[in-house]
């Protein structure tokens, strides 16, 4: 039977730093995405169901190790560039080389503004390259990318459902997605207060409200069309 349409996008976030994982997870949740975080490229591939040279959705593949054939629908992968072992760039390449997952949009994040690095990632197929700190406005750019794959997946599912009998070997996209729970609610309900508490008197000092992307300020230039920097910010 066809699944009820999932209205949320599912993002796989990859970063070796706990701090960055916490932050990107919250940013994505705030953008109404379901998030799974992992701390390495290899764990990301495991999560996707990719093994070395063996893809779990290939019915003819031989796997000698017990493989969890749970397939999860991932609408976007966002990964740090600089990680020990498999870098974000390595992960990008592996994803794009995989026939099953090459259509998943990949976004790279980095705290370093290295134009050559940015070009390389975009050329390898990354949809966007974000400089840290990543902002909510940055994530809003991702919706169109995720929408594309989601619609495509839904269409594929419909086609598969029509052409499979009840004992079809193709697993429907898993409805169960590991959910990373946020912090438990504070026992004392003082939330509205917290919003007020951290007001800053803006009278006697000037806070920098420069929201321009750093790469714009530093004027990087690549030959490729760069990620769009339209001035539309929809910060919460």
């Amino acid at each position: 039977m066809g699944m009820a349409a999932e209205s949320q996008f599912h993002v796989l976030a990859v970063d070796d730093s706990l701090f960055d994982r916490k932050l990107i997870e919250r940013l994505l949740q705030k953008s109404s995405c379901q998030v799974t975080t992992v701390d390495s490229g290899s764990k990301a591939l495991e999560f996707l169901g990719l093994r070395q040279g063996i893809e779990s959705n290939d019915p003819n593949a031989l796997s000698t190790a017990p493989v969890n054939h749970q397939e999860v629908e991932v609408n976007l992968i966002i990964t740090d560039y600089c990680m020990p072992g498999m870098t974000g760039f390595d992960l990008l390449k592996k994803v794009k080389e995989s026939s099953a997952f090459k259509n998943i949009p990949v976004v790279i994040m980095s705290s370093e503004n290295v134009p050559a690095r940015i070009s390389r990632c975009l050329e390898e197929g990354a949809e966007e390259f974000f400089l840290k700190p990543v902002r909510l406005a940055d994530l809003n750019k991702l919706k169109p990318h995720m929408m594309k794959t989601k619609l495509k997946n839904q269409k594929l599912e419909e086609i598969e459902e029509l052409s499979k009998d009840e004992n079809g070997t193709v697993a429907a996209a898993a409805a169960v997605v590991p959910e990373i729970k946020g912090s438990t609610k504070a026992e004392i309900e003082v939330l509205p207060l917290q919003q007020d508490l951290l007001l800053v008197q803006q009278g006697d000092q000037t806070l920098s409200t420069n929201n321009k992307r750093k790469s714009m300020e530093e004027g990087i230039s690549t030959d490729r069309p760069r990620p769009r920097f339209d001035g539309i910010t929809t910060a919460v």
Partner: protein, 158 residues
Amino acid sequence: MLGLGVDRLQADINRLLASLFHQGVLDEHFLQLQQLQDETSPNFVYDVINIYFDESEKLLRNLRLLLMDREFSDYKKIGLHLNQLVGSSSSIGARRVRNVCVAFRSASELSNRPGCLRGLEVAEHEYHYLKNMMHELFQVLSFILLLHMRIKLGYGRQ
């Protein structure tokens, strides 16, 4: 009576924050953190700041161990640690810590050992200053929370 206490504490918080912004210790990214907190993640700011402190302390400790080693030569490793510090400090709005780490990183890129040692001292100093300020902030916050809770529970009227 209690209400008056809360107002005073709230004024303290505002004053402390304003001062930190004025000194350039914090910048607008710190405010953006607040925007990420809501009912579904009510402790986000507190949690993420604590993770920042844990990780930064480890990084600074490693940097000190590396540089104190007489046979030290791995400037690349120093650079990697500093990238992490610069990144997380930026994200949390710890502007001064970020800036001193950037300077420190420049010294490491030039393999300048004395420069790195100086950079480390300055980074440690800025980091501890920030930590103490945050501590104070959270202390005042917890007083306010306590007072508010008591008000809610009806221990005193405003």
